[in-house]
Amino acid sequence: MSEAINNLPPKPVFDLQAVARELLITFAIGVGIMIPMVLLRTTDRNSKLVIEYHWEEMLFALILLVVGRLGLIFLDKQKPMPTLIIGLAMAIAGWTFEFPTEVLEVFMLAAGIILIIRAGLALWREAKGVTENDRENGKKRRELLLKHSTGYITIVVIAIAVILPFLTDLLQFILPSIWGDSGFVVGLSSRYVVDVFTLIFTYILLAWGLNIVVGYAGLLDLGFVAFYAVGSYSFAILARDFNLGFWTALPLAGIIAMTSGLVLGFPVLKLRGDYFAIVTLGFGEIVRILLLNLYDLTGGPDGINGIPRPGFGNVVFARTAKVDGTQTFTDFFSNTFWQIDYSTTHRIIFLYYIVLVLCMLVAIFTIRIRKQPLGRAWEALRENEIAAASLGINRTNIKLAAFAISATWGGFAGAFFASRQGFISPESYTFIESAIILAIVVMGGMGNLMGIALAAIILIGLPELFRDLNEYRMAAFGFGLVLIMIWRPTGLISFRDPTVLLFGKKKREHEEAVDATKEGNS
């Protein structure tokens, strides 16, 4: 009776036979999965295909699978203690023992850690007597808190982003007695870190562009990379054949990408849902194939080389100014401000600021357009097409606008990418890029700029950290994508604040948020 009052679900019965059956099924499936891929491996020997047997690896992988499954079963049956022990055992085994391959050790360790975390959380909840209801409330409270403080977080994030290239100098200036010359601080704004963040910001730019189509207009675009490619190639060709500089070619590349968005968008916007998805996927591939085969224009598989780097005015980023009338950044800076030495890092930092400014422009544009009639029309279309149409919204034009704007941002990102790399080839514009950008948008919680930026840092930045494990990087990326989607199906930051509120509603919500926070503290 008391259980019913407390609203606690009855503890699941621990049925030994059922558990054994479950484990046996896991084992059987594991055997089925591993025989063709883990046990039997094809290798070339004397230019003849032979099969190698890897019994040891399969055995260890099977043990890992069954033990891990046992841990999850205990967790399901609300017995976190055994799970914790299993997790600890797995982590220690993975850390200390010699396994047939390193991957197995990493897997063992990672699985152990995940089990430990999950069991620890469950134990903590049990000790505190947290019910399902409390969890829901806590989640809601945290979301409101986050929503409430988005403004402050944004300012802090932008501030950090702006000073990132000089973070080392600043910190060393501020905290000399505490950290001194510690390697960590020095590493913070090294050339490599700034470069990685330039890459991350390029993806943020792309994802914010795609977000307009996917997140706001609700159209599933699987070929976004087409506009990225169009931007890159038009930038490169304009620079090569017409000798245009970065600042002239960049807007032109954006305009060309926009035009291509209009041209490609026009025939397909009548299509709905997944038909639209497959056609955009097709366009992405068509553009790539064209780039491969229009040899005279695009250089085919060899790509385009020697794309000019950005400068400003008559200032170039190089050791010496080769063209008359230009000067190097080192000279310019030394003459105008104070004496500095030439460093290749200057160019890297300059590129970083260009992409940062582009991102800021897109963010401001996006935030503002959401409140304009156009942005509202997108959201109306996303929520219900027929209802929106019967209210007098011209579906084709509104969708076309979304397509064209997102293509423009894609084009800017492409032009920037081309200028940063100095070399482009069709290899950079495969379907996998579209998939990664889409994954960033969805994982960020469609339509939420902050969430998308966070997702980009995770999906692009984390794999960069593991550059050494190059071979395993993409496999881990794919697996991680699956895990994150299962963990948070609606994205990392999934609340969607209404763009337009009726008078007074905003105030009420604000008060609710404050109340909720107080409740949480008491």
């Binding site: 491996r41 599933l220 038909y275 497959i278 591939e285 194939i289 496999a475 990326f477 989607m485 299962i486």
Partner: protein
């Protein structure tokens, strides 16, 4: 004329393979409304198992080796199909539309790299197993070749599709699948085990893809970890072309894509054969937005 006939033969063979893979896409789409992006990878795994099998059983007589490899490839690939559904899609069954899609893309990237890591990044060849052909038509000096292998592929595909259609139309599991496709909630109220039915759909799709994989391995003689992507995309295009959700549509779409590809490569440029496929897809969809044999979608507010 002879040249045309030859291309027709090649196109039909290719189309049979695409059709088999397309059925997997169309069934999954029909029943849970998601694009199973990892299906191309399932086909690739089927083909890889075939390479392993043919290398292992190279001592056996030809017919028994092929039958054994077919059976093994279909069984193991079915296990992969089941596992993928169970781990990557089932937890996301009732979440919003794009979540399973991203999960599927992740699974596809994972499987590609998983096979590359374990089986190597190089092309894996097998020796040609079924040689010989009918030379039945001669036009000046051009001989039309219908290889035994092509006959086997087309005939076995037709047989498999017939059996498959019978399963869908006549057996209990087929009835359950059709019921789930129409209304999952109602089906489960009437005693259909929806989870089980969806699992069976994935298993069947994987088996057909594995069959296609074995046939392609025999036909081309080489397998590579990346073949799943393009084949998957073509097969999905075929499914959409025929009207996604419709099984005869998938077969027809596969056949058409195969024919388009063969004729385009023969009469125009081989570099643009993939472009041709997509252009025709776009044209069909503009004029018949629900595909050739698909039911028009009626949307209610």
């Amino acid at each position: 004329m002879a040249y045309f006939l030859q291309q027709l033969i090649n196109g039909v063979t290719l189309g049979a393979v695409y059709g088999l893979i397309a059925i997997g896409y169309t069934m999954v789409y029909g029943i849970i409304g998601m694009i199973n992006f990892a299906h191309g990878e399932i086909y690739m795994i089927g083909a890889f198992i075939a390479v392993i099998g043919f290398t292992l059983f190279s001592g056996l007589p030809l017919v028994s080796a092929i039958l054994l490899v077919l059976a093994l490839s279909m069984i193991f690939t079915a296990i992969y199909g089941w596992t993928i559904e169970r781990t990557a899609y089932r937890p996301l069954r009732n979440s919003f539309r794009l979540a399973p899609l991203i999960s599927a893309i992740g699974m596809s990237i994972f499987l590609q790299n998983y096979v590359q890591l374990l089986q190597g990044a190089r092309v894996r060849p097998i020796p040609p197993m079924i040689k010989g052909s009918f030379k039945f038509f001669q036009d000046s000096d051009f001989v039309v070749n219908l290889t035994y292998l092509q006959v086997i592929i087309v005939v076995s595909t037709i047989a498999l599709m017939t059996v498959f259609t019978l399963i869908i139309n006549k057996t209990a599991i087929g009835r359950q699948q059709r019921a789930c496709e129409q209304d999952k909630t109602m089906a489960s109220l009437l005693g259909v085990n929806v989870d089980h039915t969806i699992s069976m759909t994935f298993i069947m799709g994987a088996m057909l893809a594995a069959f296609a994989g074995v046939m392609v391995t025999l036909y081309y003689g080489v397998v590579h970890f990346f073949i799943g992507f393009l084949a998957g995309m073509k097969a999905f295009t075929a499914a959409v072309l025929g009207g996604i959700g419709s099984i005869p549509g998938a077969m027809l779409g596969g056949l058409l894509i195969g024919l388009i590809e063969a004729f385009w490569s023969a009469y125009f440029t081989i570099e643009y054969k993939d472009v041709a496929t997509f252009v025709i897809l776009v044209l069909v969809l503009i004029f018949r937005p629900s595909g050739l044999l698909g039911r028009p979608e009626i949307e209610k507010v």
